[in-house]
Structures are given as C-alpha cells and as structure tokens.
C-alpha cells in the first residue's frame, strides 16, 4: 500500500487532503465541505493508511457511475478492504456488476415500477395516517424516530412485503448495527453483535420465503418467488440477496432521505410557507430537498480496474474511488447558487438516487412515500415546526451517511 501512496505522493503531491472521512470535524460543516468538493478536481485522502480518490464534481461523479468497466463495484476482499464489506458478505445489488447485476435488477424492477407504485399508494397512505395519529397524541415529537425512520418500515416492510412486527424488528435491528461495519479497521473482524444480527435476519428471510412458498399472496416476496420458480430460476442465495437488499439497504436509505426532507424544509420557514399555500409544489419540493440534503455524502465504493484518469487526476489500477453524489448536487455548473434552498427550483438530473446501472431501484417508492408523508404532515399539522428555530442537526450512521440523530419538533 505504501508503494501506491509513495507513487501518488511523487506524482501529484499537492492533491492530498488531510481529511478523516466521517469525523466530527468533517460533519461539523458538511455542507460547506461538500460544496468545496463540488468545484475541485478529484483528490486523494489517506484512510487507515490507504489512499482513496474522492470525486465531487458532477461530471466526474457521472463519469465514474456510468462506466462500470473502468470503475467496478466488486471490491476484492483483502486487508484494508474490510470496511467496504458493509453487508458482511451479502451481495447486494449495489455490489455487483455486469449480467449478474442486470439479471437481479430486472427481477426486482416490476415491484418498483410506476404501475406497482399506483397499487401501493393507498396502503402507504394508510400507514402514514397511522403514524400521524400517534404524533397527534404527543404534540412534541421526534421527526426522525416518530416519522422518518418509520416511513419505510411501514411502506416497504408492512405494505409491500407484508412482514409481521416481530420480523420487522429484526430488520430494524440490523439497520441500526450496519454502521459498525464501515468502521472496521484493516485486519479486524466485524463485531460479533453484527454477525448475530445478520444470522437472525438470514433466518427470518428463510422463514418468510418458506411461508410465502407455501401460501403465496399479492406481495413482492410472492412475486419474486413466482418469478424465480419459472424457467429462469434464481438460486436461494439470489433470492436472499434481493430480499436483504430491499429489507435492509433500502430501509436505511429512505429513512435518512426523509430526515433530510424534514430538516431542509423546517429549517427554511419561508419555503415551508410557500409549500403550505400550494401543496401541488410537493413533488418539486421533494426533488429540491433530496438535492439539498440527501441521506449520505458517499456512494458505495468503486475500484479502478485499470490505470486511468478522472477530471485530470490520475487513478491507478486497484485504487478505491469514492464519489459524492451530494457534492455533485452542489456543483454550480449544474445547479446555480447550489446552497440556496428553493422549493420552486425544479432541479433536473439530480444525483441523489445515483446514476447509471446502479441507480437506486427503489427511487420511485422512496419518492412516492416521501411525497405522501410530506403532504399529509403539512395538511394534518400546518403549524408544525422545529422545537428550536436555531436547531442544527447532529449526524450518525455509517461512514458516508448523513443520518440525522434527532429532529425535535412540535405539532403547533
């Protein structure tokens, strides 16, 4: 590793940034930090002794995400790469390439299609109404724990997958523990508590699969099994990997995204007021919210498969490349005055759900659920606000995530 580091230091010594990814320092003013990434060529950071390339400009991020031949998501297992095995050996959609990826993606696509969203809308709406009933009884509530975190739990695990509360709680537990996997140091193992949680999830998924095979219904898992039991059979492992992707990865991502929606809007009362006056702005507002504050600042890692260059920066074969879709959303060449929050901006080609073959398969579900959640919240509690008008979020979650820890609010 030091050979690579030495070579880069000799070739491009001015392009190293002294930055600890995910540190309190970095997160203290993360928006300004990322706005800086959005206007500079790809640069290097040294993480646990290993050099990484960071891309923040829109064109650079776009280039990496679109070219899976030069920038693969298949990160080889070796010392120093432990922290990139976020799902402890489970091959999620985000960590596979080529035909295998396309095959799984096509299997999942119908469940997340525009037509499927129409079928789910009413059920998701009922779940949200129930969440708002709970909030109404409290007056003071946590926008994260009481709303954002429960949104996808309800929309996805309850409505789409028809899981029982006990089963859902096992996935919630996993969702809480996954951040630990991204902090594993070179040569270390994943903590036992994570391994146990993964085992519990594995058993749960197997039990659900067995049950739906015996009693198929109208839900995503039954549809998946029907497809996998056809001519183009999917192995049990592939079925597990798909379900794991949906139950764990998606759950976490949308909870964080919804947190960003609430935080962005309620920190800008003038914009919230515009929205209150005209709820037809909600779809635009959601796009602007997820542009302005998505749930993370780094996408899944890529690895360079050859010596190459991005935006004028040399990237040697085998180097880990991290792209920041949040920084790309602050690139002024795509989004003028990018740190201005404007619910009427109507931003096009936002990078919030990724781009290219790995673009988020659940983006329509997330958008539909967030649009409903925001509309219903504003309708039910038009005077809702942050408890403290000066509130500034503290972040947790995995390295690369922007998981708002709490969002104290009142209904009016």
């Amino acid at each position: 590793m030091s050979v690579l580091l030495d070579a880069l230091a000799e070739r491009d010594p001015e392009n190293f940034e002294n930055l600890e990814l995910g540190s309190d320092d970095m997160l203290a003013d993360v928006q300004q930090t990322l706005a800086g990434w959005a206007t500079r060529r790809p640069f290097y950071v040294v993480d646990d002794g290993m050099p990484l390339a960071i891309c923040g400009r829109y064109a650079d991020v776009h280039e990496v995400l679109m070219d899976t031949k030069r920038f693969s998501t298949l990160i080889p297992k070796k010392v120093g790469h432990e922290k990139f095995d976020k799902f402890v050996g489970v091959q999620t959609l985000a960590q596979m390439d080529g035909e295998a990826h396309m095959r799984m993606r096509r299997l999942m696509n119908p469940a997340f299609s525009p037509k499927a969203m129409l079928r789910l809308e009413a059920g998701v709406g009922r779940v949200i109404d129930g969440m708002l009933d709970d909030i109404e009884r409290k007056r003071r509530f946590d926008g994260m724990a009481d709303y954002a975190n429960r949104l996808l739990d309800g929309a996805l695990l309850t409505v789409m997958l028809r899981l029982e509360e006990e089963q859902r709680s096992i996935f919630r537990r996993m969702h809480e523990l996954i951040p630990l996997t991204t902090r594993v140091k070179a040569g270390e193992s994943v903590p036992d508590v994570v391994v146990q949680a993964f085992d519990a999830a594995r058993r749960t998924i197997q039990a659900v699969v067995d049950e739906r095979r015996a009693n198929p219904g109208e839900d995503f898992i039954s549809d998946l099994l029907a497809a996998s039991d056809g001519d183009d059979r999917f192995s049990d492992k592939e079925v597990f990997d798909v379900l794991f992707t949906v139950c764990v990865a998606a759950l976490s991502g949308t909870a964080r995204a919804m947190g960003g929606v609430l935080y962005s809007l309620y920190c800008h009362p003038d914009q919230l007021e515009e929205l209150r006056r005209d709820l037809t702005l909600v779809p635009l507002a959601i796009e602007e919210c997820v542009r302005y504050h998505r749930g993370g600042y780094l996408l899944f890692p890529r690895i360079a498969t050859e010596d190459t260059e991005i935006g004028g920066t040399f990237i040697p074969e085998g180097m880990i490349v991290r792209v920041s879709q949040q920084a790309a959303n602050y690139d002024p060449t795509m989004f003028p005055d990018p740190l201005r929050f404007d619910v009427r901006r109507d931003p096009k080609r936002i990078m919030s759900f990724g781009m290219g073959p790995h673009q988020c398969v659940g983006n329509r579900l997330a958008r539909m659920a967030m649009q409903q959640a925001l509309t219903k919240l504003v309708e039910r509690f038009p005077d809702a606000r942050l408890e403290d008008g000066q509130f500034r979020a503290r972040y947790g979650g995995a390295i690369g995530e922007l998981k708002i820890l709490e969002l104290p609010m009142v209904t009016g």
Binding site: M66, P114, K115, A116, K348, R349, P357, Q359
Partner: protein, 123 residues
C-alpha cells in the same frame, strides 16, 4: 443489445460523420430537430446533444424507463423490433402505449432518418 451510456459518441469506420435527423416534440409540444450520429443512441443525442428534458438515469441499460418516447405510426416499421427486456420494461410504465420505445435502445442509422418522436410524460 444493451448499451452503456455515452455522451455524444464519436463514431469510427465507414459511418463516421453520418447522421440521421429526427424530429422531436417535447412535453410542452415544442418541435425540435435533433441529429443522431450513426452508432450513437437516440437517448444520448436527446440528452446530451439536444439537452432535452429526459432523465435517462440508467445510462442505456433499459432498466429505468426514463427515456421513454413515442414513435409516430408511420415511422415505426423501419425500426428494429424491441428486445424482450425493452418490452418488459415498457410494460411496467403507466404511460406506455402503441409506439412506445426506449430511446436508449434506438441507435442512429438509416432506420432513424426522418423519424418523428414525442417525449412521453414523466412517470
């Protein structure tokens, strides 16, 4: 055949420099004339060359449906038949109808000359 996304392509070989002219009606009803290089996808020409409002987020893999267009009836016969993957994806879209195609699966060549298309509504 699936394509990977490309910004406006440079095409080598005997087709280099040749282009088809496609008439496009955008979602607001405005007409545009878009040149598609031979070998380049229609999606790439619409998104990058003409800068029209199509998302085309998956980059030409026929998995997102955000480059959905309608091909005029008189233009359809000349186009290659859609693949099974394209048909499957179109079947998942609310606004799909006769003449629906994914622009990422149409490649510049003689069959695209003088074709007229309309951008489908956002899903």
């Amino acid at each position: 055949m699936m394509t990977t996304d490309a910004r406006p392509a440079s095409v080598d070989g005997p087709d280099a420099g040749q282009r088809a002219t496609v008439e496009v009606t955008d979602r607001e009803g405005r007409p545009h004339v878009v040149e598609v290089l031979y070998g380049e996808t229609l999606m790439s020409a619409l998104k990058y060359r003409a800068q029209l409002n199509i998302e085309a987020t998956c980059g030409g893999n026929a998995i997102c449906g955000t480059c959905h267009v309608y091909v005029d009836e008189e233009s359809r016969a000349a186009l290659a038949t859609p693949s099974e993957d394209e048909v499957d994806l179109l079947d998942q879209l609310i606004h799909a109808k006769d003449g629906s195609r994914l622009a990422c699966q149409l490649t510049g060549g003689p069959s695209l000359v003088d074709v007229h298309i309309t951008l489908a509504p956002h899903e």
